[in-house]
Symmetry: C2
Subunit: 218 residues, 2 copies
């Protein structure tokens, strides 16, 4: 397991937001938030792994994803990414998540929640395991599940912040979209525990889409 990298990977606006203002159940990314992900939805990689019909461009963005996301064997995510909602699962109308019967992950996913629940196996190799004893426990379980593969800290922002503050992220991949959202959910809020801190920049890809992909190691 010594080869495992814990990777936090997220798209951000130029002004530092990962979702726009006024999010709702119909529009969980908020106003303009979909602009952060246009580059992703256009890729061959995304369509191969998340779509049902193939398609997409085999471009620099797609190859970057193949290189980085291709090594991921387990993921930790917040309840917001799994299903949204809060409170007891029995009362949650979206308790099976919003990823369909065959979620696009195809690996073990560990969902942080305050509400214990038995694991939820889905089609295609994804099992959602619910972790209510903290972020370190979730990461330990994901590391064990990933074996020599990498672990993705899949978001949202609050989950990423917790892992960054705890010093548990090995690599951070930022996809900086050429857009101002003007408000919404900030990626870096109250990130004070280890600052000021310098990182090693390990890669930069300037995508024709206008996105700049930058990666760092701590």
């Amino acid at each position: 397991m010594g080869m495992t990298n814990v990777i936090f990977d997220i798209s951000m606006s130029l002004d530092g937001y990962v979702a726009g203002p006024d999010p709702s159940d119909e529009d969980p990314l908020g106003r303009g938030g979909e602009l952060l992900h246009e580059w992703l939805f256009a890729t061959r990689y995304f369509n191969d792994t998340h779509g049902t019909k193939g398609g997409g461009d085999d471009n620099d963005d797609s190859r970057l994803l193949d290189q980085t996301w291709g090594g991921i064997r387990a993921e930790v995510m917040g309840r917001g990414k799994f299903s949204g909602g809060s409170g007891p699962w029995e009362a949650d109308g979206n308790a099976r998540g919003w990823w369909g019967d065959e979620p696009p992950f195809h690996y073990p996913v560990f969902v942080l929640t305050r509400h214990p629940r038995v694991p939820l196996p889905m089609e295609g190799g994804t099992t959602f395991t619910f972790v209510s004893d903290g972020i370190e426990s979730a990461l330990d379980q994901a590391r064990a599940a990933a074996a020599d593969g990498d672990v993705l800290i899949g978001g949202g922002a609050a989950v990423g912040q917790q892992y960054l503050k705890a010093g548990l992220v090995d690599e951070m991949h930022l996809h900086i979209a050429p857009v101002f959202l003007g408000g919404g959910r900030r990626l870096f809020e109250n990130h004070t525990s280890a600052a000021p801190a310098q990182l090693e920049r390990t890669g930069v890809v300037a995508s024709p889409s206008g996105v700049v992909h930058v990666s760092y190691r701590r």
Copy 2:
């Protein structure tokens, strides 16, 4: 004057700050804030234009500055960049600014202030003109002074935000330093007037210093 570009150019931490926490008169950049500018201080360009003894590296960073800052013929800045302080000039112990008798600008500088004051000519071609009738007036005066050259919106963050909100910035150059400051003065705060808005990314330079230089046009 049709060739003039209005350029907002600033260094920012990964977490979006242009100065660190707890700024003071002795430490106006706040805790860790100097880490944002190490790449700059190391360049031949900076030392040639701001230093007295020469030196510095003739590296990618230096050439980038030569290409972009080299065309600037006038600047607008806030009082914070000129001298710090607030209130009437008569009571300001730093009323000649903190740039010395021969400031490094060597072009006309327009300082935004609520307190009217006659212009202050310095050695070496820098004249500070104090503008108290608004950001558009300051920019008009800077454009006239620059003739066909470019105008720099020199900061700080609040000044840049005002010009961005007003739609008066043609090019934005961000120098993204590989550092978390964990707090301080945010570059993009309450930037709501024209959002969501997509920009054209015009350039990316990955500096060996770890900084990523990215430029955008609106």
